[in-house]
């Protein structure tokens, strides 16, 4: 899917109609070289541990996934059925590249990997996630995380 225009008309219409908030402030955090950064994943794929609470429609909270979790212990309960899940079903790295991040740390390309990663469920209006996101920022900083990669689905 190179761009929205290549999608079937019904999906083009849906994606074009998604409301996108206008954010006036333009924050830009500078940091050191990548090899000194401590990095966490924040996903919106509705991922969680098997033992954790599933996501429901309108859920604005996040779930914690400890770094190094066995991929077999991770499930997806995103409420949308309108995206491909078959790739994730074959290989978790297409949405949650914990293994690649660990390899990059091992190779010295990044400084270190966070103790935990996090997932929201992206069908919720992101403005309703603001309080949880700002609270999560504090949690991340308490783990000495300085940089985050955000992954949609």
């Amino acid at each position: 899917m190179v761009d929205v225009r290549t999608l079937p008309e019904i999906m083009q219409h849906h994606l074009n109609e998604v409301e996108c908030p206008v954010l006036e402030n333009k924050p830009w955090v500078r940091g050191g070289p990548l090899k000194e950064r401590r990095i966490a994943i924040v996903s919106s794929a509705g991922l969680h541990l098997r033992s954790d609470q599933h996501f429901t429609g309108g859920d604005h909270s996040y779930r914690v996934i400890p770094n190094g979790t066995d991929p077999d212990d991770i499930l997806m309960s995103h409420v949308s059925v309108n995206y491909d899940r078959t790739a994730y079903q074959q290989d978790i790295n297409v949405v949650f590249p914990m293994k690649h991040l660990a390899d990059m740390a091992e190779e010295g390309l990044i400084g270190s990997v966070a103790s935990n990663h996090y997932s929201f469920m992206g069908a919720t209006d992101p403005r309703e996630m603001e309080d949880d996101a700002r609270q999560l920022a504090g949690v991340l900083k308490s783990d000495q995380v300085d940089s985050v990669i955000l992954l949609p689905v």
Binding site: E9, V22, V29, N93, E130
Partner: protein, 244 residues
């Protein structure tokens, strides 16, 4: 994701995002975005192509060292690898031909046979991958099949879980059984999502049950079933493709 990045950046964390919809990234304009040309659902590209996934990840993280703020959108240069069909892939055999949805007993038998046929491939795939994504409903595959089939004989009001409504168990059970089918069918070869979808929605008993169930649930007197029927059973793209 773009809005979440904005909040995190405001709180002092440097962020970088993979974007699957360039239009949305352009509108929200978060700090750092790598636009990737992949299907919704696979931001790092095709499954099992770890070299390409690493390249995507490294380019996205590399934006953290850029000073071209306050809003940077970069494009991942590779073509849409992974969307092409695997011509050597053979879809699993199914019991779909001459299916009469009005014959509930035969439909039930054929669904059970189809699941039985797929089970060895599912088991091998799970062993090879070291994981399965089945488990949201917290029921066995047989229990899920029985709950789905209960909609054919009218006994579907009873939920097999005390903590979830029958409608929610239907939603999660359908997700689980779809995952069971996809994991089994993709055990051999590298089928594209379109190949798997074509097989599932055109050639499987389960796919046909979901198409019928969608129509029945949307006409149900209980709103919860209306919602599950309209939103959670058949993807929008297949509703369009099959003229449902």
């Amino acid at each position: 994701m773009s809005v979440l990045a904005h909040y995190l950046e405001e709180e002092g964390l440097a962020t970088t995002i993979l974007s699957l919809v360039r239009l949305h990234s352009e509108k929200v304009a978060p700090p750092r975005t790598l636009f990737v040309p992949y299907e919704l659902g696979r931001p790092l590209g095709p499954p099992n192509n770890h070299a390409l996934q690493r390249e995507v990840l490294e380019q996205a993280l590399g934006l953290l060292e850029s000073n071209d703020g306050p809003s940077l959108i970069s494009d991942f240069g590779h073509i849409n690898v992974g969307a092409e069909p695997d011509e050597n892939w053979s879809p699993p055999a199914t019991a779909f031909s001459d299916l009469d949805m009005a014959d509930a007993t035969d439909v039930a038998r054929r669904l059970k046979d189809e699941i039985e046929t797929l089970l060895p491939s599912y088991t091998l795939a799970k062993e090879a991958r070291g994981r399965s994504t089945v488990g949201i409903a917290k029921l066995t595959i047989d229990e899920i099949a029985d709950h789905i089939l209960s909609f054919l004989d009218g006994s579907h009001e009873l939920s097999p879980r005390e903590d979830l409504s029958s409608a929610m168990v239907l939603r999660f059970g359908v997700d689980d059984l779809k995952a069971f089918y996809a994991e089994a069918a993709s055990h051999s070869g590298s089928p594209s999502s379109w190949q798997l979808g074509n097989w599932f929605w055109r050639d499987t008993v389960f796919g046909q049950i979901l198409i019928s169930l969608r129509a029945a649930a949307m006409d149900h007197s209980d709103k919860r079933f209306n919602i599950v029927g309209s939103k959670f059973l058949v993807p929008r793209i297949w509703i369009d493709e099959l003229n449902l």
